[in-house]
Symmetry: D2
Subunit: 290 residues, 4 copies
C-alpha cells in the first residue's frame, strides 16, 4: 500500500439504500465530472430486499480539498440519490483501544500488525481487567488501564472505561479475548463500533468455554468468529470466520492452541477491513468488500 502523501489522498464511500436504475452511472458520473478517478468500485444488489450497496474508492482532482469532496459526496448521495453514505479519507487513522484480559496472543498479534503498518489506524490504549499484560503494554509504549470487574462494580467500572475511551478519542474498540460481557449501557454510550473475537465457529458454541463445548460434541473442525458486538451475546453481525480440522487426538488444550492461531488471523482481518472501510452492516449481516 502506498503511503498516504497529501496529494495522493483517496476517498472511500460506503453507500446503502433502496435500489433504482442508474445508481452506478450517477455515482460514477458525479465523481468523473468533478475530476475524480475511480480506483475501485464494488457493488452489491440484494434483489430480495431491492437494496443497493456500494463501496467506491476514488482519487479526487489534484486541486480539490479531499474533506470538502467527502462532504459534497455525502450530501449528493443523501439528497440526490436517497442513499446513506459514509465517506472516509485514506489519510484518516482512527484511534483504536484494545480490551484484554489475561491471554496475550491476540493482544500481541494486533499490536505487532499495527507497528508493521498493516493497519490503517493508530493504537490509543489498552484497557484490561487483569494486569498480566501491563508490562508488555509498557514495552510497546501503550497506556495500560487495569480496571478489575466484579458483579458489584461493573457499572462503575464501565463508566471508567468510557471515560478513558473519550479521553483518547477512540473510534474503534477491539476485544482481544476480553473475557467480560459489555453491558447494553456501555454499548449505547461508547459511540463507536466494537469488534469481538469469539473462539468458535458461531453460531455453534456461543457462550462460554467454546473449546470445551466443541471437544464434548466431538466436532472435526473448530473455528473462530470476529463480529461486531451488539447487546445480544455472540449474536452480532459476523465479519470474518475461519476454521481448522481437528481429530480425536486433540484434547481441549490442543484445540485452544490451534484456535489461538485462528483467533489472531480472523480478528486481524476484521479489524483491517473495518479500518479500510470495507464493511457495510445491514440488519444483522455484513458485506465485506475485500
Amino acid at each position: 500500500m502506498p503511503s498516504a502523501q497529501p496529494s495522493a489522498v483517496s476517498l472511500t464511500a460506503l453507500l446503502s439504500g433502496p435500489d433504482r436504475p442508474g445508481l452506478v452511472a450517477r455515482v460514477a458520473t458525479w465523481i468523473f465530472e468533478r475530476g475524480g478517478n475511480i480506483l475501485h468500485a464494488d457493488q452489491h444488489n440484494d434483489e430480495s430486499e431491492n437494496a443497493f450497496f456500494q463501496r467506491v474508492e476514488w482519487r479526487p482532482a489534484a486541486k480539490a480539498d479531499p474533506a470538502a469532496e467527502a462532504a459534497a459526496f455525502q450530501d449528493y448521495a443523501a439528497k440526490q440519490l436517497g442513499m446513506a453514505a459514509r465517506v472516509a479519507l485514506s489519510s484518516e487513522r482512527p484511534r483504536v483501544a484494545i480490551f484484554a484480559s489475561k491471554a496475550g496472543h491476540c493482544f500481541h498479534d494486533l499490536i505487532l500488525r499495527f507497528r508493521a503498518g498493516e493497519m490503517r489506524g493508530q493504537l490509543a490504549c489498552v484497557i484490561a481487567n487483569h494486569d498480566d499484560l501491563a508490562a508488555a503494554a509498557k514495552t510497546y509504549g501503550l497506556p495500560f488501564y487495569n480496571i478489575a470487574i466484579t458483579p458489584k462494580n461493573k457499572a462503575a467500572a464501565e463508566k471508567q472505561q468510557l471515560k478513558i475511551l473519550r479521553e483518547h478519542g477512540v473510534g474503534l474498540v477491539v476485544l482481544a479475548r476480553y473475557m467480560q460481557i459489555l453491558s447494553p449501557e456501555f454499548l449505547a454510550a461508547c459511540g463507536c463500533p466494537v469488534i469481538n473475537i469469539h473462539h468458535s465457529f458461531l453460531p455453534a458454541f456461543a457462550g462460554g468455554k467454546p473449546y470445551h463445548q466443541a471437544y464434548a460434541r466431538g466436532v472435526k473442525i473448530v473455528g473462530a468468529t470476529a463480529h461486531y458486538v451488539t447487546p445480544v451475546l455472540d449474536e452480532g453481525p459476523i465479519i470474518a470466520q475461519d476454521v481448522t480440522h481437528v481429530s480425536h487426538r486433540h484434547n481441549v488444550e490442543d484445540l485452544q492452541r490451534r484456535g489461538r492461531d485462528l483467533e489472531k488471523v480472523v480478528l486481524a482481518a476484521a479489524v483491517r477491513w473495518h479500518l479500510e472501510n470495507r464493511i457495510i452492516v445491514h440488519g444483522n449481516k455484513t458485506m465485506v468488500f475485500d
Copy 2:
C-alpha cells in the same frame, strides 16, 4: 489399494476398553507369535477416561485361516485383555443400501466411487421416497424401491424398508440426502449402522433448511457433516466435516450449489472410513484412524 487376493487377506481389529499397562505389547506379541505381521497400528489413550482404543491391521501367517484368526483374536481380546474387539477381513465387502429422495448429487457421487473401486463394499439397492432417481438407478443396474412416506403410512413404510434391507443382506445404510427422519423403531430394528450427511457444520444449523438458516445468520463459512444416525435428530457421533468460505455475494442457491460439493466429499469419506474399519464410536464421539 491392493486387490484382495486370497493369500493377501489382512485382518483389521478395532479394540476398545479400559487402559492398562502392556496392552500394546500383548496385542503385538499375540500377532507376532502366531506368525502374523503388523501392517498398521494406531492407538489412542483417552487419559481423562482411562480408556484405550486401537486399530491394528495385520497379515496373518500364510497358512493360517483368516476367519479363524479373526475369531481367535476376538476371543483373546475379550478373555485375556478385557477389551471389546471387532475384527474384519480385508476381503469382506459389506452390502450397502443408499436411501435417497430427489437430489441426485450424493447418489451419483457414491455410486461412481463404488464403481471406481474406491469403496470396500458393494452396492445392494437404492430405497427412495420419490421416483426422480429411478431411471438413473436402473442405468447403474441397481434395484430401486420407491416407497412414499406420509405421516400416516410411515410405520408401514419403514417396515417395508426393513424387509428390503434384510432381503439384500444390507450391512450399512447411507442416507444420501434422504429427506425423511428415521424413527427410533427403524433404527432399533435395522441392525446395522446408518450414516447421514447433514448439509451444515453441525451443531450449527441442525434441523431443516440449514442453508437458509446459514444465509439468514450471515455466516462466512458453510459446511457439511457426516454422522452416524441416532434417535436424536442431528445429534449422532460426527464422522467427518468440511467447510467452504462464502460471502455476502452468495445467495441461498449459491450456498446450496457450493454445499453440494462439500456434501459429496464428506459423505464419501465417512462411508469409505466406515467400510475400511477405521472408525470407533465411543459415547457420542468417533475416533477415525485414517
Copy 3:
C-alpha cells in the same frame, strides 16, 4: 440461477483496454440512458500496466432487442472508449466438447453438473482416444468418438477431431484428463478456447506423472490446476487451483485418489466461470470475476 425467460435476458460484457478517467461512468451512463439496469459490475485496474478491465452485467430495456444491444455496446466500446469488448447474452448456451482418455472421474462429474443445470452450456459430444467411456457416454445420450492417437497418425487424428468439433458447432473444448498433448496446429485451427485440468499445483510438477513427482519430492500438499491450453505445455493462463494436505502415510495411489476430488471441483469451477463469461485473459494471466 433464474431460468432465462425471453424477457429476462441479461447481457454480460467483458471489457479490457488502456485505463483513463471516466470509463466506469461512461459505461454505466451508456447502459442507463438506453434504459438498461446494471445487475453486477466489477472492475479491475492494473496500475502497473495502466490497464482497465471490467465485467458488467445488465438487463436491457424490456422492449430492446438483446442481440442488437450487445452489438451496439461492442461498437460503442471499440469506437468511443477504445476498449475490446466481448458481449454475451445470458440465453446463450455454447456447445461443449469433452475430450477424455480412460479416467472417468472428471468426465462423469462434468456431465452430471451439466445435467443438474449447474452449467450455462450444452454438451455436444465426447472425443476420446480409448473406448473405456463409450458405454457411459451412450448412457448419457452423448455422441462418442473414439480416435486413437499414435505418433504416426497424430496429424490425421487431430484433423478428424477438428472436423467433429466443426460439425457439432463446438464453442469450448474441455480436456477432462485427456492424456494427449494437443499440437499447436490443432490449437490454432480449433477456433475456440480449450480448458485443461492438470493434476498438480502448477507450476510445480508440470509434465507427466505429477503425483509421482509430488510423492518423490515429499510435499505436504498436492493440488490441481485448471488452465487455458496454449502451445507451451502446462504454461497457459491459470483459471483455478485448489489443494489438499497429505502426509507421509499417503502413497501415490492415495495422492491420486485425493487428487481426483480436487480435479473434479477445480475443472468444474473453471468451466462454469468460462461459460458464465467471468474470465478475462490478459497476457498469461486470468482475471476471474466471480
Copy 4:
C-alpha cells in the same frame, strides 16, 4: 501440555531401519517388561523400501532413571533390532538460535510462542545481518548479534556465527526469514539441524523473490514451506506447508502480507514438531508423527 515434573518425565524414541516381523511387539514388550507405560505409538512401514519407522513415547517405571532408560533403549534398538534410534527426555529443552534479517514477523511470532509455553525448547540468542530487530530482541531479553554479511566477509562471518552457536550450546537453528544462504561449510560445521521458512509452495518458486514469481505466473494460490536446510538451496526435506487462495486483485504487496501469516504458522509448526521429536528424516523426505 503438562509441566515436566521429575516423576512425570516421558521418553520419546524415533526409530528407523529395515522392516521385519515382530518389531512392534519387541519394542512394546521391552518397554512393558521394564515397567514402562506407552503413551503414544505411531509407526510407518514404507513397503516399497521395506523400511520401518516408529515414534513411541512412554513413561518409564517410577523408580527408573529416565536417562539410563533412554540409553538402554538406544542400545537395545541398535544391538537387538538393528534399528537407529534417537531417544529424548520430555524434560529436555534444546537451546534454539533464531537467525533473522530485517523482517520481524516470524521473529516476533516464534519468540512469543516460546514465551507462551508452546515450544519445548529455550531461546538462546538471535543472530542477524541487520540491526532492525536489535531493540526488539533486547526487549525480549535475548542476546542479539548483528553480523553483516558481504560476499567478501562471508566465510569469516560464518565462523563468527558458529562460535556464537557453540558458546550458547545451540541445538537447533531457525531461519526466521534470514535472507542469506548458508554455505555447505557452515552446515557441515554447525552440528545441529537448521529449519528454514521459504515463502512459496516449494518446489514452485524456489530461489529469490517467490511472491514476485507467483504474481508473474498468475497463480491462484500462494504458500509457504518449512524445511530442513541442506547444501542444495530450497531442496531440503519438507516439514510443513500451507497455502492461501489469492486472486487477480492481489498485487505483490498483498501476496507478501497474506504470505506472512502463512510463514508464521508453518514455521512455528515445523519448529514445534522438531522440538517434540515428531520428525524422522529419511532420504529427502520427512515423516511427521503429529
